[in-house]
């Protein structure tokens, strides 16, 4: 019973969105009385819009993928370094990183706008991965550092005795063992980029370059007189489907990554 309640609690809103997206507008605004039929019109409207909604998903995927790749490329070596230098030095640096992770990003927007203008980074999808990677980096470093530290030192020393260099050890021994942690870190970064709104809103203005969040905001605010509940719900469903699919694909890695270090294996 408690499990059922929990399930309703967490799945309820999602199912409600799905339901909303499949109902005609009249049924949603209460103008229609009696039994209403189901409709795919909201989806049609989105997919045939100009530009089509799938383009926003594609833009978001591009930004998410490049940001994730950039973040990992920077965070992995950094986390490795932090986990291998002396304890006192790493504690101090980790504290700084944690402070950076806790810093309210909102305070950076104005400065970042200046940067975007000066360096002509506006309306450039790939440029968006710079602030995204910057914002995700502290958390990614902390996550990966913890799991680097969980790897037994003897494993790396065995690789050293086998004559492997630093990059060989990372490539053949450490990174494969870090796969769960890297998978869960990547997913967190990707979700952040997927959902990010304020920076995308201010850096992008061309409608064919919009990412999901600002695009949805445009749908929601397209008219002063009516709120397009149905279209909005359909956009929500379409926007979260890729994330759900990603989660399902990487489920096992992520779960083992999130619980890593909880118990000594």
């Amino acid at each position: 019973m408690a499990r059922l309640a929990l399930l309703v609690w967490s799945l309820g809103p999602m199912l409600w969105q799905l339901y909303t997206s499949l109902r005609p507008t009249e049924a949603l605004t209460g103008e229609l009385h009696g039994a209403a039929s189901w409709t795919l019109s909201h989806y049609q409207q989105l997919l045939q819009g100009d530009p089509p909604f799938l383009l926003y998903l594609f833009n978001s995927a591009v930004v998410g993928a490049t940001s994730t790749a950039l973040t990992l490329a920077l965070a992995v070596p950094c986390a490795y370094g932090l986990s291998r230098i002396g304890r006192t030095a790493s504690r101090g640096l980790s504290l700084l990183v944690a402070a950076a992770a806790a810093f309210p990003a909102v305070l950076l927007f104005l400065a970042m706008l200046e940067v975007a203008r000066d360096w002509h980074l506006a309306n450039n999808l790939l440029a968006l991965s710079l602030p995204y990677a910057g914002l995700c980096l502290p958390l990614a470093i902390l996550l990966l550092q913890a799991s680097f530290r969980d790897l037994p030192l003897e494993l790396e020393e065995a690789a050293v005795m086998e004559g492997m260099g630093l990059w060989q050890r990372l490539r053949w021994v450490l990174l494969p063992l870090m796969a769960p942690a890297i998978a869960s870190a990547s997913l967190l970064i990707f979700i952040f980029c997927w959902n990010e709104y304020p920076i995308a809103l201010t850096w992008l203005s061309r409608s064919d370059l919009l990412t999901l969040a600002p695009a949805m905001a445009r749908i929601a605010g397209s008219s002063v007189y009516t709120i397009p509940y149905g279209a909005f719900a359909a956009a929500t469903v379409l926007g979260s489907t890729p994330l759900i699919l990603l989660m399902l694909v990487f489920q096992r890695q992520i779960i083992s990554g999130l619980t890593q270090g909880a118990i000594k294996g």
């Binding site: 037994p152 003897e154 494993l155 020393e157 065995a158 690789a159 050293v160 005795m161 086998e162 004559g163 492997m164 260099g165 060989q168 053949w172 021994v173 494969p176 063992l177």
Partner: protein, 346 residues
């Protein structure tokens, strides 16, 4: 002592090797030699510096001072990869994400060994260690003994000039440990290179090694064959570390006597003492029946309890413990140093 080493052999030579971390001295001026084909055990309680020594030789930790020579060449400051040293870790440190086969071949591949040679060596070593059936398994699916064999195989494939083993038996159960001792000894011998074997188990050291170096708090106490260490320990520490049951220590007026339990005899109480013998009167307090032998605990007033190998009838009876005086080890009471024979006059 002169700074030049006496031999220019192909073995391992440590010369006044030290490691200090901050204020702490983990290893203090260790000097020893291991000729090719010899198995040297580093023996001592935890924290005695035996693992430190191994890590210094392997190059995993830097030496603070001193010199390491292998095959006549100084390797003190070479990176581990260039030392031609193979190491078997206590945890075996097998790569958990790779099959047995890949565990063994990865290092060779990355070192640029030709494919045909890898395949040949791999088959050879898998056959030698009876691992053929397991070649596709992951380490998690292996038993402790099998993991140890894989770790040994990986070390053998390195074709090292020196073998280092860090408590390779400590993860195995007692029975397996004893069974494997002979096998391991034969295998290590067959390589013909010096072997340094770290253990805290005296039986393992005595059963496996040609010579034993006993360490305590970073200092070498004594180095020699098991027999030398057992019969003529340089000090009380070595005497009590080796031997099971441990040596009996009795305080006399001016020194301390060390009496091995098997050198003691039990006799009826108040038996007259013969020439060249000593004796203590006591009461049998406890008896351990171990099948192949019996350990009697005899409580002697003012000297504590003596362990004697031998049976002596019912508990709580008065007995005499006696021993030949030439079986005594005499230690200086304060320092615990063994007194040489010349001063053995009472």
């Amino acid at each position: 002592m002169t700074t030049t080493l006496t031999t220019k052999g192909a073995g391992l030579e440590l010369h006044r090797l030290s490691r200090r971390v901050q204020q702490q001295t983990l290893l203090d001026q260790l000097t020893l030699e291991v000729p090719p084909g010899e198995i040297l055990a580093l023996l001592g309680p935890s924290g005695c510096g035996k693992s430190t020594t191994l890590r210094l030789i392997a190059g995993l930790d830097p030496a603070s001072s001193g010199e390491i020579r292998l095959g006549g060449a100084v390797i003190t400051h070479l990176p581990p990869a260039q030392r031609q040293v193979a190491m078997v870790f206590q945890s075996y440190a097998l790569f958990p994400h790779l099959s047995v086969e890949r565990n063994l071949s990865l290092g060779m591949e990355l070192r640029g060994v030709p494919k045909s040679e890898i395949a040949r060596d791999l088959d050879q070593v898998l056959a030698l260690l009876q691992l053929e059936e397991l070649r596709t398994r992951r380490p998690a699916a292996l038993s402790g003994g099998q993991r140890q064999r894989v770790a040994l195989a990986r070390a053998l494939l390195r074709k090292p000039a020196l073998f280092l083993l860090d408590e390779p038996m400590s993860n195995l159960d007692a029975q397996l440990r004893e069974d494997l001792r002979g096998e391991l000894r034969t295998l290590l011998r067959s390589t013909g290179v010096p072997v340094v074997y770290v253990t805290h188990d005296q039986h393992e050291a005595m059963g496996l090694a040609d010579r034993i170096a006993v360490l305590r708090e970073g200092q070498l106490q004594q180095i020699g064959t098991a027999e030398e260490l057992y019969n003529t320990p340089t000090n009380r520490f070595v005497a009590s570390f080796l031997g099971n049951p441990t040596i009996n220590l009795i305080d006399t007026a001016e020194l301390q006597l060390g009496l091995r339990p098997e050198r003691l005899e039990l006799a009826p109480a108040e038996t007259p003492i013969a020439r060249g013998w000593s004796a203590l009167e006591g009461r049998l307090s406890h008896r351990e029946w171990l099948g192949d032998r019996v350990i009697s605990h005899v409580h002697c007033p003012s000297h504590g309890t003596l362990k004697v190998i031998g049976d002596a009838g019912p508990i709580a009876d008065a007995v005499q413990v006696r021993w030949r005086q030439d079986a005594e080890l005499r230690f200086e009471r304060e320092s615990g140093v063994l007194l040489p024979l010349t001063t053995r006059s009472q």
